[in-house]
């Protein structure tokens, strides 16, 4: 089994004549947390839409857990868990009803679904609140439910599209910590899009994109070295705004 969980190869994409991604290539290994850094409009959400097959690409390749997203879309999507930037829970249903719906879409039977729901919610300290309507939960708790949902079918790759936007500091910290812990304890590969540098751990791989182009990739040290500075904030500024 290959060590690579997510592979993006020479990917380009345009909305009509507007080129949004230019020849993008990077890999995420199993058990690795990869932070996709880029300012607003860098092309992060478009990249996520391509990986989740909401849009179809014409140039390049995307492979998920060894399956090409174009040639074997259903097998590839089965290996994927996603938390989108916008909340995608049904507010009028309970936490459990939302999760059961997702389990059904993933082809998980009722008994196994209940066991998986319990496991994931307990891990996030949300099991006691399973009968509550999502509408009654605060933003941080809704995000936790979405992470639990994304992990219900035990995916190989977890995509998180700016999951902490709009959350208070404790909620943000809790989610960042939880995801990093997951990566350490399992061989889950995570691609986390953000522009918040305090979410980066020293063990993370970083991919910096700006205006749809890859600016740098590697460890924090690699990125700082490439930018010729000694802290990540300046490196990010040099590689993005500095190039506008």
């Amino acid at each position: 089994m290959s060590d690579i969980a997510l592979e993006v190869v020479n990917l380009s994409f345009a909305y009509g004549k507007k080129q949004v991604l230019h020849d993008l290539s990077f890999q995420v290994k199993r058990g690795q947390c990869c932070i996709l850094l880029g300012p607003n409009g860098a092309g992060k959400s478009t990249l996520f839409s391509l990986i989740t097959r909401l849009y179809a690409y014409r140039q390049g390749e995307i492979n998920l857990a060894g399956f090409n997203i174009k040639k074997k879309p259903l097998k590839a999507l089965g290996k994927l868990g996603v938390v989108f930037q916008q909340t995608t829970l049904d507010l009028d249903l309970t936490v459990q009803q939302n999760l059961r719906y997702h389990a059904a879409l993933q082809g998980i039977g009722r008994k196994k679904a209940n066991a998986n729901i319990q496991e994931q919610l307990e891990r996030l300290g949300m099991y006691e609140r399973r009968a509550e309507l999502v509408r009654q939960l605060n933003g941080g708790h809704r995000r936790r439910v979405e992470i639990a949902r994304a992990l219900l079918h035990k995916p190989s790759v977890l995509l998180l599209d700016e999951p902490t936007v709009g959350l208070d500091v404790p909620s943000r910290e809790s989610i960042v910590q939880h995801v990093h812990q997951l990566v350490q304890e399992t061989d889950l590969a995570v691609l986390w899009a953000t522009h918040l540098l305090d979410e980066v751990y020293s063990t993370d791989k970083l991919v910096v994109i700006h205006q749809g182009r890859l600016q740098a990739q590697g460890t924090r040290e690699d990125i700082m070295c490439k930018a010729g500075v000694d802290n990540l904030n300046d490196a990010f500024f040099n590689l993005t705004q500095g190039k506008s």
Binding site: Y15, L74, T88, L93, A103, L105
Partner: protein, 266 residues
Amino acid sequence: MRIFHYWYALWGIVFRELLRFVKQKERFLSALVRPLVWLFVFAAGFRAALGIAIIPPYETYILYEVYITPGLIGMIQLFNGMQSSLSMVYDREMGSMRILLVSPLPRWFLLASKLLAGVFVSILQVYVFLGVAWFYEIQAPLEGYLWLLPALLLTGLMLGALGLLLSSFIKQLENFAGVMNFVIFPMFFMSTALYPLWKLQESSEWLYKLAEYNPFSQAVEFLRFALYGQFNQMAFCYTAVAFVLFFLLAIIGYNPSKGMMQRKGR
């Protein structure tokens, strides 16, 4: 087993739609009140003005209320189809549509399941409406209520597929008012729901032609005949072909490489 995956997903989508329907009591109430107002107020008022000759499937002179009942059943399904389309646009704007579309199942199957879920809801609404109409002495032969079920499935699928197709074109929720003006009202009024074809022909030849080829007319006629235990082959074929056409176009509309979603960049 793959087949179980399809079954779980279909059941999950249908169950979610039913849950939402039960929780949205206002939606159920308005779906019921709309045709009842037409039946109790509009039809009662027009009873004297519009005389209905003996036309199949009726074997005798009938009250105007009896004539428009299948039209109102069609109206329930038409509005339900559009309501589902509205909720698809809402889901897309709110993002929950993405969860459905990134599931590891073929897109045609996901859309068909969503469609079927909406049809089940509309069938529930129709039978509750017919129950109320029964007490108002609008009564069809008992076996007609049974024959109506498969007919409702087909007409519901056709009108739901139309809604699905429209939802792939509608960019924002605000544009939905346009659908009301340009799709629902013309479809309903230029049909045999309120007046028979020969009445329309008396007043305008082109209106008659429009009504004859309106898929909604054919759906209403299919329902009208079914309610009286008869099979209208022409209406069946027309409705079935319209369903296949609308559904295929909707699948193209939701296809990631060919559809409107990509061109709109959503």
